[in-house]
Symmetry: D3
Subunit: 320 residues, 6 copies
């Protein structure tokens, strides 16, 4: 019942937001496991598998949902009894929920250690995790100054400067094009991430990769703040993150566009920053170099190639 309800709420987007979806799914699986009355671990596993499939199917393109489900599902592999399996599920789900719930705060604590008194920081877009690092450093009494970009076309920079202003942090507001002009004054770039691929490439708001490039040119370090559920497991399979192209009206007033038949607006929401321009990724389970994305996906989120074997078109055993 509860499982079906949660699934329905996720499907209907009553539950939304990468973090909330993930936590609700983990809790649903935990509670479902607690209520199961199966004679043996095999039937327990079968029943859990059905529940997991039901949840994952609700939002096939979300990345945090399968990450949460996978974390729970692998917890009871090798359990010796149903009771043991239930306990393992509970521990894993609770741990995931705790970690996810506090992810942004823990990231803030870890990331703030890379900010020194007197530092000038540049951020792009409006990332809760990136802001958490900045606010934590400010909260520790470090005198910092921030450059925040406008973030065309949706101007999320306004949200960022409001948050910084409210905290009393000295902030400079610039157009996206002005980053290279100021980057020599900047000590550290911090951004969030929408997704991180198996080789540490960072998918984030359009413009991030230009900033990373300018930072790299000026030997300014770049730190990415990202919860582990942002790591995209299916990139192990070679899948690429689709870059959403948003509607033209965000960039060009449709009334103007109507008069310009030869003009086509291109409005990609994200771009891809190569791992070589990222010095460190800060997650709630610690700071890592970008190449460790693979280990986060495999060791922390629990996705090995085995999880995907069924997707290969060749699946029969042949005797050598």
């Amino acid at each position: 019942m509860l499982l079906n309800e949660t699934a329905e709420q996720i499907r209907s987007m009553e539950i939304r937001g990468a973090g909330r979806i993930a936590r609700k799914a983990a809790a649903a699986l935990r509670d479902h496991a607690a209520g199961l009355e199966t004679p043996d671990t095999a039937s327990f596993a079968r029943s859990m598998k059905e529940a997991a499939d039901l949840l994952v199917a609700t939002r096939p393109t979300a990345v945090s949902l399968p990450n949460a489900v996978q974390t729970v599902m692998r917890s009871f592999e090798g359990a010796g009894s149903v009771a043991e399996a239930k306990a393992a599920v509970k521990t894993a789900a609770d741990s995931f929920i705790l970690s996810s719930r506090h992810a942004v705060e823990w990231i803030g604590e870890i990331g703030s250690r890379h900010i020194s008194d007197g530092d000038v920081i540049l951020t792009h877009c409006n990332s809760e995790a990136a802001l958490s690092c900045i606010l934590a450093a400010h909260g520790e009494g470090k005198a910092i100054e921030v450059f925040a970009t406008e973030v065309r076309p949706r101007n999320q920079g306004l949200l960022t400067i409001r948050a910084l202003n409210d905290a009393g942090i000295q902030t400079n507001f610039i157009v996206d094009s002005a980053v290279r002009s100021y980057i020599n004054e900047v000590d550290l770039v911090i951004t969030g991430a929408d997704a991180i691929t198996v080789n540490g490439a960072v998918v984030n708001k359009i413009g991030t990769s230009q900033i990373a490039l300018a930072a790299h040119e000026a030997r300014t370090p770049m730190l990415v703040a990202a919860e582990t559920y942002k790591f995209a497991p299916r990139t192990i399979l070679g899948e690429r993150i689709a870059i959403e192209e948003r509607e033209a009206g965000e960039v060009l007033d449709p009334r103007i566009a109507a008069g310009l038949p030869h003009v086509r607006v291109r409005n990609p929401a994200f771009d891809v920053t190569p791992a070589s321009y990222v010095d460190l990724i800060v997650t709630e389970v610690g700071a890592i170099p970008p190449a460790m994305a693979y280990c986060i996906i495999r060791d922390y989120l629990g996705w090995g190639i085995g999880e995907f074997h069924k997707e290969f078109s060749i699946d029969q055993m042949t005797k050598e």
Copy 2:
């Protein structure tokens, strides 16, 4: 009379625009020279010097004005008679006027030869000279496609896409942040210049240097289209081009800004692209590598260190 009138019109900004100012000043000197009735070349030179000083003083920070005046003034050095001097002035002034008047067209002809059939070109801001290259290539029947940026905060990109649309050129309109996402599809970047320094650095609309950097990263060549009167002679003296910082209201609505006391808008109008990111500068006197800026200033515009010697604080001859 005419000289004074022209000077007044430049001072009052009745005559404006870098090109027009330059041509009017050259014409005024030419006509002034024609009317002079001086006994010898020395007095001719003195009188011309007064006229030149009068004109240059009208807009002390313009770069095209002293360039025009200097071109005319050096023409009669070494003339054997007043008549010869007058003739030299006329030739130089007319040649300058012709060249300046047709500069954009000639630049278009020269620059278009770097555009091949099928090329994708990216431009930034709304440069008459850069557009001239693109339109000339289109006019020659080459099938081209253009990426044009929005150009925050003043959105000059709108002017550019209107011009391209009117010419029937297939155009893509993107936010400034999206350049790196598309640069691998681009064959050539063409921009204009507001000023070019003695070492070939290009001062142009904010964002140009980020585009140049992204182009360089992707091995996409960058061509700058600039009339010779954009080359800044006083950079030989070590002077730096001051980057105008424009009003905050262009970037952030003042009503919003009023509520954000810790936020300061930084709005530089231009940035500086280093010569090493520019493959070629196209002027009306030919295509040159950026390092040749010095030769344009010295050989074409006529500024040697001698012109500036009086500005040094040490100016007395001492016997060794």
Copy 3:
């Protein structure tokens, strides 16, 4: 018996090819384990060790052979009984054989996801794994075009263009020197690998590193397709992959060479591409960043430093 036969067939090169050798060795160990009648796990382990040593000794320089053997041998560590050990061996060997047998196809499926409709791909030499990616993308209906190099001195490019032509893929054939001229038209470079070292350096056909460098200069991504048995475990020990130098006659007609006493032909078969020029390595167990070579060797192939401790010259315990 069977074990000895297999060993002999590998030694005599009746069984050859990196993949076949690996699979035959795994099968031989599996069958040997099945037939063992040992009282306890310790004697089982000793007997398996002898079998493993026998196999590995047949071709001391092969890299796939020890990889297969090691995968099987580590499977039964910690087994509680001989039966359990036998079962573990069977599972590990069968899994290795399946994975190895289908490696090229799985690599093709994974790698093809990095190829988009309309892409232009460049490949070098004649790699089964790289071709598998290209053919899979073509098979999925993507319209692709390929640049294939000649691959002097042995012209393996001919094999590649035949395979591409047979599949009906539009192919451009170029000399090795022409890569930089075309790389700006290329969307993706895909090559195979002869060996991959612990730090992700790729040993492959001579010329690969020049292509990788040109791709890097032009921001063209490079993907390496390689079965896991190509990863060289002994590079953990600091061993370097010896670059075979082949006979001069491949490069210069011996009759001409005879007349040129001061000329020496240098004919290295492979070169080394640093990890920083490789965006992704595609294996049958998933796509990884090059730095994960260490994890493939340690976690998938089973080589830790412990396997090599006996090779150190210092091996006695001393009491502190």
Copy 4:
């Protein structure tokens, strides 16, 4: 007793040196465990925890001490009985001691394989591990030549050239500033490390990062020789290695300094070389790419985020 004694000796610096401290701590824990008479594993764990805390508290900033303690402490997790736990502790401690004791020799053996006959090697400062590689190669009969720097301000280069001279190795002695002049003649740079961070950055003697940069510019590979206890676990938490600034008198004679009131001596003992300039790190547990620092810390030294969770300021479970 012994535990307290060891703790006291470490605190009083009677035991000093990163390696000796580590080994003594491991031995103390091993012996402490052997003597424990606890009824169950839980009390065993508690007692061991007290012992561990006691040891770690003696030198809060040392990096090798907690690494040794952690290696031992994680060995008995999941042990089924106290006896099993004691055995596990003994095995882990002995193995750590052996490995640590022979670390420099094993590093020498591994690293020497990257040195070829005829190679010219450059080293900086006086690293036992780096010298071990060079001496091992020399010992194997390879004809090598070394460039050694002076290493201002404390001139540790003198120790290095003495050691090389004593071994009969042809050595060139240069000032630190001359590295770029000779780097094109150098085949390999080898240095030690004072600490290695989670993302593979190498903290080492001031000047190392300039050498690494010059080597990178000239495509000369750089190898870092470092015992595993040099890897800094707390960098996972975002902690940064503090760069010690030593006294001014090392750089400028205090009598001279006294006369120069506007002059301030800056004397950092170390600098930070980014991972991208390091080709390989050689440890006693094998050669690794720099990004694998995370795995050394997590898998070999035993530090996961769990070890640090208590340090986060948010630590309460909340029900979702």
Copy 5:
């Protein structure tokens, strides 16, 4: 008469080779001038102009022909009498002939000064000017060693190794793909040029730019040896050097090609090396940085924008 004969011989390719064409054209103009009996300098100039046009029209795409003609034609500008003009023509023509005739030797003398005793040099294709530098260094008794590439598809490397072998120079012969493998052993790259553009880009045999890139990556300097008549004046006008694409049969046996309908051979004869990868260009009038190509064209060869003004489509004077 003689003029017409020379023109005919150039047209019919009886006279061929960039250098010979240039010298014959200069001599023809000189002798033509000597025979002219014109009343004044204006008619002299007109007659010379006709002669120049006749010559240039014989091979419209040659680059050395107009360079020679232009050098002579600008010599008599401003001459006070026909006799003075004739004398100026003779001096200019003789000087050009002398300089051109000895260009390769002078380049050899200048270039050889960049080769030190013990140097290893790499060359590509078969450039007379590049070989001249190498042979001169060898002739001066410097012990040198050369790497020469095969130069697919026409194998001009064979000519190079024959010349080096005949001189007794120790030579290594490698496939084009092997350059990056050996570049760290190379002290200096020397190549010739087929054409040099106004911004110092070097058009040379396919593969040159890959070698330049590999040299740049390894901090190996690159020197280009080129006679001044290789500098392409019309690149000032924006003209680009057309890269000849040669017949497919050079690369792929037509009988094989016939069976491969989906395969297209691409066979560009040249590629373009950017100026930033060239350290020095050695001409017979001295060593210059690549950016000085503009000055060679303007000051030495005599091409200013004025020479090209008539080619612009806008050519009427308008009164301002």
Copy 6:
């Protein structure tokens, strides 16, 4: 008489210092010319040539001496009478002396314009010209801070910090190895030059090129302050600046060295910074990009290839 005296004083090093030698030579030629009583310009020229040769022969390796002589000698080319020639010599010599005498001050004025209020500047060694820029900026009231290096092995940094301290400029004193650690805090690097080659490479105190590299990595601009007589004309001929190797005792105490038979001290006094790491060269005749070194040598100092033709081994005219 006076000529011979000056020659003798230069030979005996009574007159020394690059600037003084140059000025004395120019004055000697001027005075010699004034006293000549020759019937025609040809004999005047011959006599001057003898005087010039006498002077140049006194210090064959000095670079400022031939530069001064050449500047004077080319002044009277084409003079119509001996009187005209004498006047031209006087003007040229006086102008050269004035310019040379005030060179350092003028360079200071020009260079100081690149220093902004609040800038942090790094300098290396003890360059009068570089200090002139820094002191001029300080004199203009700009608040600046300087990093000065120690400059091993001769510690010229002490002279620099004394000069800066005396001026009351806040100065940081660091070892040469520490540059990369602080370069991100530095806004501008300024050094002097010992010689500048035709392609803009800067020969300066050992360590300069490492600093330039570190500045380039961090996008910190580098400015070189150099009098025009530092430009080396013979580099047009391909000559390379010999890098003096100074005595071992400067680096290593001979008593220590005596005990280290396998150790050889290498002590180059200078290194070579490539033009691509230099943003601007400031001379007393203006600021220039490095590639303009050729123009300084040719146009300002008066060295064309013609001056060197006699040095070529081929010098006979042959009739084509």
